[in-house]
Amino acid sequence: MSRNLYDLIGLAAGICFILALKGLSSPKSARRGNLIGAVGATIATIIVFFYANDGKALNNQTLILAAIAFGVLVGVPAARKVQMTQMPQLVALFNGVGGGAAALVAIVEYLKLGDGATTAEVVATVFTVIVGCVSFSGSIITFMKLQELMTTRPVIFPFGRQVIALTLVGVLASGGWVISSGGSTPLLVNGLLSLLFGVLFVLPVGGADVPIVISLLNAFTGLTVAASGYVLQTTLLIVAGTLVGASGTILTRLMAEAMGRSLFGTLFGAFTAKAQASTGAVDARPVKSGSADDVAILLNYAQRVVIVPGFGLAVAQAQHTVRELADLLASKGVEVAYGIHPVAGRMPGHMNVLLAEANVPYEQLVEMEEINPTFPQTDVVLVVGANDVVNPAAKTTPGCPIYGMPILDVALAGNVIFLKRSMRPGFAGIENELLYEAKTTLLFGDAKDSLTKVVSALKAL
């Protein structure tokens, strides 16, 4: 078969990717869209074996197939076994390895081309190496933050701004060095500095902004794939990479808007972040903590209850228990709804996925804009493992990391019950004033245990 035919098949794969993104943008067609994308990727991978070596079997074919098999053996079990709670960091990790792969591809092609590379090819290589390495190391750091292998708070170090700016200058200068003089040493220096920059770039990002950074790095990786497609003169890579780069950029902006963050502020947090006046000592003010029975009584005599789920629900795998509680309340004639903050959990849509797993009826999941006006008519709000998304500091404390983020106005309800593991502040590391209010009751413990106790107390009433 001729090269033209393979190019046409490659074009079909590109169309599959467009349809995949289109499908993924609507709930009805999302799953089909993902399958179409997978089909496109499979086609693209199979045909490369036929044309890469002009119709002959590939050099190193056995090794390549072994490497693919190894990748499948690592990737599939990781994707299948991961807990719903850990999905965001897995996506970050997959994104990082993709960026790393793109950088490696460009490096190998650069080594092979040697002095024969055109300036445009070298520029594209340098771009791929820089952005691919930043995406790789940055994603690893976001993974570590989400996995809580390191602190989730912004990491600010002395002269941070200067160090980061200097590293960026170094990255660009070494990139220029590669372009002007060629050779592998400048490229190595460039790659290492880019890796360092990726780390420094993500470290100062606060926990709540991590999803935005993952999305941005995802768009970055798309662009590196497009650039390496240019180096390899492979149209499909240009199409696929650019699609992801462009849609990823829009998605990043949408996410930032949903969180009420300025994209600029998030991205350049590294340059603007100031060390916060840390309160240091644990606040010693009294809080009202109650027992499961107290909570059950409050719920039992309520007309309307809104459940606000957060990351704690995901950690405790309490989605089934919370549904049991909601069903029990509904059977007692209590009106129950879930107030879903767009970024509750660690990623936009995290709670929807989790509650859908527990078969919570779709229409009970109410988005923030619609649920907020109903809080004054709500008797009890049950906050299950959420904190930052209900923290009034987002409205009242200019300069705090979540200032400006829209929140669920649970303070307007008659009573607020927090199910919390401890008094530890939320992911963003900010004290929540609401915890100290008179209308607030705290029930300490693992969300699932607490909910189970409340359910049995409620049954006993």
Binding site: A13, F17, L21, K22, L24, S25, P27, A30, R31, G33, N34, A38, A41, T45, A52, L58, N59, N60, L63, I64, A67, I68, G71, V74, G75, V76, A79, M87, L90, V91, F94, V97, G98, G100, A101, L104, V105, I107, E109, L111, K112, S215, N218, T221, L232, T234, T235, L236, L243, G245, A246, S247, G248, I250, L251, M255, G349, H350, V353, E363
Partner: protein
């Protein structure tokens, strides 16, 4: 020869620019619920760098090049295959939920 090269570059530029607009267009309206799966799906799509990794593994001339290329193949495969599987798992949970509920209501 030079003009032929140039027209190839322009064709690639056209492909690039058109892809930018298509990419902007397809996701311009999407509910927050789908942000995570969409990001994850897009993430899987850029795993197609596997194609590039296979091409350079085929062309590799030295052991260093081959080693790096095979590492790229492994990483790209993890990105692509893992990405599609994890996206499917997320979306499985949305499947048919509202519909089931509506059917139940109709039967009453």
């Amino acid at each position: 020869m030079a003009s032929e090269l140039m027209s190839n570059e322009i064709a690639l530029l056209a492909i690039f620019l058109l892809s930018v607009f298509v990419g902007f267009e397809v996701v311009s309206k999407v509910s927050t619920t789908l942000h995570t799966p969409l990001m994850s799906g897009a993430n899987a799509i850029h795993g197609v760098i596997l194609v590039g990794a296979i091409v350079v593994a085929d062309h590799a001339e030295t052991n260093l090049e081959l080693g790096l290329a095979l590492a790229a193949v492994i990483l790209a495969t993890i990105n692509m295959v893992g990405g599609f599987v994890v996206t499917d798992r997320m979306l499985q949970m949305f499947k048919g939920k509202p519909k089931v509920k509506k059917d139940a209501g109709d039967n009453k």
